[in-house]
Amino acid sequence: MPELLSAPLVVEFPFTRSLGPVQSAFLTGLRERTVLGVRTEDGRVLVPPVEYDPVTAEEIRDLVEVGSCGTVTTWAWNPAPRRGQPLSEPFAWVLVRLDGADTSLLHALDAPGPEAVRTGMRVRVRWAGERTGAITDIACFEPYDGEPEVHGTEHDGQFDDAVTGIVAPARLDYVYSPGRAQTAHIAALADHRTVGERCPSCHKVYVPPRGACPTCGVATTDRVEVGPRGTVTTYCIVNIKAKNLDIEVPYVYAHIALDGADLALHGRIAGMPYDQVRMGLRVEPVWKPGGRHPDHYRPTGEPDADYDTYKELL
């Protein structure tokens, strides 16, 4: 058994989202150091605001300016901030009910330690130096013992150059390990060998193996070397060049049943004109120096395989 493979895997995506009228007013307001809430039919003011009443589901749009000071309703001391969180030094997570609001907003509180934080304490917004129309325009909250500011006035939600969308980048880090079966397959490829696994029940050989027979639902443990030669079972001609792919179009992408395998794998066909590739063509892998898998497959020059020999593998 080769040593289990593992490698870092980063999943990253910039989620681009549009905003409705209420969220647009709220986030644009933050850019202008103005905190807006929305008034429900029964007169409660929700901060942060939503577009539909959480009780009645009625659409709500009556915006109200609330204070940038408020009261902590609950808190939790975070001794080890994680990537992406508002502050890099230890801080308190807080739910803050801003003056004039009936609900609480989640954010960070900059405080020297947990002994300096309590439910009911007064805090105020610390604005970010550079504001773009996002919840992070509030850098954090800070302790505040001054007078409450004016709040509760109606607001039309109109600002110049309203923010209508946000980009919320997400990044998650993993250490990927492919498990026993795929580790053995990948390790064999390093020696330019292709190894599949046989199902103990139906005796089919799967390549690349995933550790289970999809027909019988049992573990495949019996390793079998297949190929290196194989037969093109079906193919397509690719006419569009993929980004960052250094292959001239048109090229042929094919399903190839390696000799001894009961499942076709994918590969590119080269070393012959693209329009002469055909079902039944006999091919062999071509490795490039340092390559961890075949670069492409080329014709062997053998006579074509008889259809009956691969018709079950289409």
């Binding site: 895997l9 939503v50 508002p86 989640l106 960070a108």
Partner: protein, 350 residues
């Protein structure tokens, strides 16, 4: 149409911190074989298959389609998947049987948390406008809830430690548990929650088989009949909720029939000690009810399977004759946002 649907078999993995040697399907397969062996059924005998998992945990796209290799999906089967805890897959399977579309169902779920950082991963289920950009992790949100409970005078830190200790002490008799026996409370992860108040991070899988009517009696000596099941959700924004209460759990329990007669057992899906306090209050559970004899989520928390494990553990107690009427609960989302409650009963023994 029949209303008699029962859990007739349950199997789970040993839950482990890491399982690098196994792909998801390799982790799952022994559990599928075990649950089928309990009933003597083969894949081809199952009327409906439903699974629960999340690609975000291991960072693998469409992983549930590959997990299907463990079921044996050829010839074609009737199958569905929820990107949720398997408890909700069980709900879907239950409905499928109630409609008469199937008389048996295989439900499974799995989660590999070890490749990623589950505290960060779970932030991606939050509101993307106001919450997710701040990356408030799952422990932080639970800690806000715990502090709200402490402020309300409902619990203090020693009582939270006692909840954790009781669960892990009970887990001594659970060979599948990841953490059992005496586990130190440790340092604050996010104050007021210490390491001991938080469920362990780990990998695992679970599977159950459901069957209707006489089919259930054929497959199991003492089926765990599902007398009611309901699930409810609360507002997305944490700031509009009273975090010391769980009205969605109470409503789901009421609709499932929990309050009609006392239960003797409750398997509660509480990934944090403080959440058990909230759930006990919402469900009016007193000391006469055996809560989490398996050790609960504080002993093993394979995300996406933990809720299904609660249903399975409650059912297994009925199968063994240790319970006559059990409550099973599953949760999802921050601070008990969504909750599913089921009532399971065994028939009178002769």
């Amino acid at each position: 149409m029949t209303h008699d649907v029962a859990i007739v078999a349950f199997a789970q993995t040993d839950h482990r911190r890491r399982s690098d040697d196994l792909s998801e399907v390799e982790m799952l397969m022994p559990v599928l074989h075990e649950v089928l062996a309990h009933t003597g059924l083969k894949t081809g005998d199952i009327g409906f298959t439903c699974s629960g998992s999340s690609d975000y945990l291991a960072g693998r796209a469409f992983s549930f389609t590959m997990a299907l290799d463990g079921v044996g999906a050829w010839p074609p089967i009737s199958e569905s998947h929820v990107e949720m805890d398997g408890a909700w897959a069980l709900y879907e399977a239950w409905v499928k049987i109630l409609t008469g579309e199937a008389d048996t169902a295989l439900v499974y779920s799995y989660g590999k948390s070890s490749p990623g950082q589950v505290r960060d991963v779970l932030t991606r289920q939050l509101d993307p406008y106001y919450l997710a950009p701040l990356w408030p992790d799952s422990v932080a949100l639970a800690a806000l809830q715990a502090q709200a409970l402490i402020d309300a005078g409902s619990v203090d830190e020693p009582e939270l430690a006692a909840v954790a200790a009781r669960n892990r002490d009970d887990a001594r008799t659970n060979p599948h548990a990841q953490l059992s026996g005496s586990v130190p409370q440790g340092e604050y992860i996010v104050q007021p929650l210490r390491a001991g108040d938080c469920s362990p991070i780990g990998d695992g899988a679970a599977a159950v088989i459901l069957a209707a009517g006489d089919r259930a009696r054929d497959l199991c000596e003492r089926p765990a009949w599902i007398r009611g099941m309901d699930h409810r959700i609360e507002a997305h924004s944490l700031g509009v909720r009273d975090l010391t209460d769980s009205p969605s759990t109470r409503l789901a329990a009421q609709r499932a029939g929990v309050f009609e007669r006392p239960v003797d057992t409750a398997e509660l899906h509480a990934p944090f000690s403080s959440q058990e306090v909230v759930l006990r209050r919402a469900l009016d559970l007193d000391d006469s009810v055996r809560v989490n004899p398996s050790g609960g989520a504080l002993a093993a928390n394979p995300v996406m399977a933990t809720g299904l494990v609660r249903l399975g553990e409650a059912a297994a107690r009925i199968h063994r004759g240790e319970s006559d009427r059990a409550l099973a609960h599953a949760t999802s989302g921050p601070c008990l946002q969504q909750n599913l409650v089921a009532v399971l009963e065994g028939e009178d023994r002769a």
